[in-house]
């Protein structure tokens, strides 16, 4: 570690990768992409940062513990299913808002579910890799 090129590259690539991962997540329902691959790209961004600097630095910019992300992701996915159930339909029924939002597009519980998948994937990947790298 300690390569200046990698360090600078990581600094500029990181936000780009993050934007790309969110882009993948949101367009996933209609174009190529989705929560899973988005999560992998986001995780890769943090790992790149960790390699260029160190794991502590990557943990600092992540702000939360990876396992919190895992739990939050599972919770979001479960809640997205509960919304349908609470409105009297079967568990996991997809519900959509009528009017699409600017930039993001149509909003519905499947998107929320995909956000859950996205968070779980980031969390698990970083949990494993950070742990291995630190130990």
């Amino acid at each position: 570690m300690g390569s200046i090129i990698l360090y600078l590259a990581a600094r500029y690539l990181m936000p780009l990768l993050m934007v790309f991962s969110v882009f993948l997540l949101i367009r996933g329902h209609n174009e190529i992409g989705g929560g899973f691959v988005g999560g992998l790209v986001a995780a890769a961004a943090f790992i790149l940062y960790a390699i260029a600097n160190n794991v502590q630095a990557a943990r600092r910019i992540l702000r939360v513990q990876p396992r919190t992300l895992v739990a939050a992701g599972l919770l979001v996915a479960l809640l997205s299913g509960l919304i349908g159930w609470l409105s009297g339909k079967p568990f996991m029924t997809g519900l959509w808002l009528k009017d699409p939002l600017p930039v993001i597009g149509k909003i519905g519980t499947p998107l929320m579910f995909d956000v859950g998948v996205y968070l779980v994937v980031i969390g698990v990947t970083l949990l494993i890799i950070f742990t291995l790298a630190e130990d």
């Binding site: 329902h29 992998l40 396992r67 698990v124």
Partner: protein
């Protein structure tokens, strides 16, 4: 619809959850305060007695899982009412008593919570109409019993007894579930009130006998019938109020309840009469005889409880109008006196520190109120007039004498049992209080009101009911017997029946019992010498069975989970090959190969050759880093194939995963030991064969699937409906997050667990230098 029933269950559960906080806020009065709820419910239900006697039934229904036939349906009739009154009435007293008994105990709040939880569950059992609702409540009573027996969880004996009770009653409960489901399948309904009307249909089904035997297993284990009786004396490890409440007055009677409740279906069949009566008689004798060998107050009471439960089961098994009436009367009398005696034993234990009946004596001066309660309850247990126990015993003899052709056997059994009950009642209710004061670990002094009031109330109720049987006992007995028999019945009870054989038998019982009480010490010494017989008893069989089960489990675990990754892989591959191969061979399909391969492009050949070459190189490589790099080639090659054949989503994920895998390897590669060949050539040959069969299977499967779609392609449906039903054009994603979202939820949960598992393996390994010796080898 009767809203009171579900509200009562709910209120009890809520109070259970609040109990620890109430205990913290009002540590002195918590028991008294919380007793208000069950006492109020008791009065509410008591107010319904006239309506129920007139034949009215209170019901409540809530749809639950209707497609499975599960409704949350409650139903209060005479039988349920008798049990509910016992559960709520004695429950209120036990809450008061528990506050005094466990005064200052740091987990008193937890005790209240468990007791109330049990109360809700047990109340649920006796008012359930749906068989599966009943099962749920039934299991909840087993669980709360487990928690209460193991209340002193720091003692190993408590934990052992709790587990034993749970395994025995839980095992029986599972058998009962199977039996109830069979009944429901035959009858087409899970409502017990409907099943009870379908007796003829059910009895003519070939599944009737299995259903009956399974349900019987549930009832016998729960009510501690021989040979499952051993968990009940073990359950005496619980605090005494728990023993009084669960293991004498209410929960152990759940089996009796079930038999009574289902008797319209079963009673009258030969199997029922022989088995139920037989088990009851065996239990009556076993419990009574085992009671002789005890000196512990609670053990004495526990074994006589077993005997009394046997009596009730025996009576229900015989199944005539008279015996059902006798069983209900006996149940009422038993709950009143046995609950009281347990509470008395607890008070004595609490104040003197001893439960050894051979050492306790002369406590009447220091504990006058307790002595009074003990004496009154013992009167009823001994079956002396004017207590309710006397009437119950007379009716018992009346029924056994009428039970032709086995009247002799049943009467003799009842006589032996009752004589021992007389002796034990003297030992428990009389002996500790009379004579000269003896030495006790703690200086005896009067118990507080909270310890004396509950047994006094119960015992004097038993006496009053004997004095005024037509007012206090007959209505309840009539209501419950009517409900069990499903026909109107007149119940007449009186203290004086005139000079008849029953009175003569009573006198004989009393004489025998008194003789046994007088000569108790030599008899006890005799039985002490017969202790070794216990080695052949069911309790020992349980212990041996459990030990062997554990040994087998650890052996199996060591075989399957031996810690070698390649062994796991081999197991998975071989199992898959065996199962898939077997399924394929059974279908007896010949392999149809696809003959139109279409145009094969040049780059496809190159890609395929590259992957194969890489795979072949890996097995020759001697460098770990090279292996990782070549694995990467295989992975990226696959990703390219996805891309070429129109699965960009998969390809993208594959690329990302390959990249992350390489990073993972880079992180761990420095920590791994030198890359050497450790396996011998024969082992490598075996590995080769396993790998080849695995590969072969996958190749064949791929060929079959591509050649001939076995199932109509579901992908058509997804293609057509993705946009219309799920607002998405990316079909893969729509499947993942909408059509099959439930699967995905499961998958991400597994992913999360795997992540936590890796974390635990790396971070939380305790004593990582310790070599774990497998249990099988430690034995030598």
């Amino acid at each position: 619809m009767d809203i009171i029933l579900p509200t009562a269950v709910l209120l009890l559960l809520i109070l259970s959850a609040l109990a620890p906080f109430i205990q913290q806020a009002q540590s002195q009065r918590a028991g008294w305060l919380m007793a208000i709820l069950p006492a109020g419910l008791f009065l509410t239900l008591l107010g319904r007695l006239p309506a129920i006697l007139a034949g009215q039934v209170f019901a409540y229904q809530l749809p639950w899982a209707e497609r499975l036939g599960v409704t949350f349906s409650l139903y209060l009739d005479g039988l349920g009412l008798l049990f509910s009154l016992l559960i709520l009435g004695i429950g209120a007293l036990v809450l008061i008593y528990g506050g005094g008994y466990l005064h200052g105990h740091h987990q008193l709040g937890r005790f209240y919570a468990f007791i109330l939880f049990f109360m809700a569950a047990m109340f649920g059992v006796v008012i359930s109409d749906n068989a599966l609702t009943l099962f749920v409540f039934w299991e909840l009573t087993s669980i709360s019993s487990f928690l209460l027996i193991g209340f002193d969880h720091e003692k190993e004996a408590s934990r052992y007894a709790a587990l034993q009770a749970l395994l025995v009653t839980g095992g029986g409960g599972l058998a009962m579930l199977a039996g109830l489901v069979l009944l429901g399948q035959i009858g087409g309904s899970y409502e017990i009130s409907q099943l009870n009307q379908l007796g003829d249909v059910l009895r003519n089904s070939p599944l009737f006998l299995p259903a009956f035997l399974l349900i019987l297993a549930g009832a016998l284990t729960k009510s501690a019938q021989y040979p499952f009786h051993f968990w009940l004396p073990g359950a005496m490890a619980a605090p005494t109020p728990v023993s009084a409440y669960l293991h004498s007055a209410t929960m152990v009677k759940a089996g009796v309840y079930l038999l009574a409740r289902l008797s319209p279906i079963f009673a009258g069949t030969a199997e029922w009469q022989v088995l139920v009566t037989g088990f009851g008689l065996a239990t009556l004798l076993a419990g009574a005889l085992l009671a002789i060998g005890q000196v512990d107050l609670k053990k004495l009471l526990a074994y006589t409880t077993v005997a009394s439960l046997g009596t009730m089961v025996m009576l229900l098994g015989w199944g005539s109008d008279l015996t059902v009436k006798a069983a209900m009367l006996y149940l009422l009398a038993h709950a009143l006196y046995k609950g009281a005696l347990f509470l008395v034993a607890g008070a004595v234990d609490h104040e003197t520190g001893s439960r050894d009946v051979s050492k306790l004596s002369g406590l009447r001066r220091s504990m006058p109120r307790t002595a009074l309660a003990g004496g009154l309850a013992a009167l009823s247990m001994a079956g002396l007039p004017p207590a309710l126990g006397f009437i119950a015993k007379e009716v018992l003899y009346e029924t056994t004498l009428a039970a032709q052709p086995v009247a002799g056997w049943l009467t003799a059994g009842a006589l032996i049992g009752n004589a021992i009950l007389v002796a034990v009642s003297g030992l428990v209710g009389l002996k500790p209080f009379i004579g000269k004061p003896g030495e006790t670990p703690r200086h005896a002094h009067a118990a507080p009101l909270s310890l004396d009031l509950p047994p006094l109330l119960l015992a004097s109720l038993g006496l009053l009911a004997g004095l005024m049987p037509m007012t206090l006992a007959a209505p309840l007995v009539q209501a419950s017997a009517q409900a069990a028999l499903l026909q109107p019945l007149k119940v007449k009870l009186a203290l004086w029946h005139g000079l008849n054989p029953m009175l003569a038998l009573s006198a004989l019982t009393l004489a025998l019992g008194a003789a046994l009480y007088a000569g108790w010490r030599p008899v006890w010494e005799l039985t002490a010498r017969l202790r070794w017989l216990g080695r052949f008893g069911p309790a020992h069989a349980y212990q041996v069975g459990l030990e062997n089960l554990r040994r087998f489990a650890s052996w199996l675990t060591y075989r399957l989970q031996n810690g070698y990754l390649r062994f796991y892989l081999m197991t998975i591959i071989l199992t898959t090959v065996a199962l898939a191969g077997l399924a394929y061979l059974r279908g007896a399909n010949e392999i149809i190969l696809r003959n139109d391969w279409g145009t094969i492009n040049f780059y496809e050949i190159v890609l395929g050759a590259l992957i194969i070459l890489a795979a072949l190189t890996i097995i020759r490589t001697r460098s770990r880093l090279a292996t990782i790099a070549i694995m990467g080639i295989v992975g990226y090659g696959l990703a390219l194939i996805y891309l070429l054949y129109g699965a960009p989503d998969l390809a993208m994920i594959q690329f990302a995963i390959e990249t992350l895998t390489v990073i993972l390897f880079v992180l761990v590669v420095y920590r791994l030991p030198k890359f050497t060949r450790l396996t011998s050539p024969p082992a490598r040959l075996a590995d080769f064969l396993v790998a080849m069969t695995g590969g072969l299977l996958m190749t064949i499967l791929t060929l079959i699937v591509t050649a001939r779609p076995v199932v109509p392609h579901i992908s058509e449906f997804f293609m057509q409906n993705a946009l219309r039903l799920a607002n998405g054009r990316n079909v893969v994603n729509v499947i993942l997050v909408d059509f099959r979202a439930f699967d995905t939820l499961g998958e991400i949960t597994v992913l999360a667990l795997a992540g936590i598992g890796v974390y635990a393996l790396i971070r939380l390994t305790i004593g990582r230098h310790e070599i774990i010796i497998p249990p099988a080898e430690k034995e030598d």
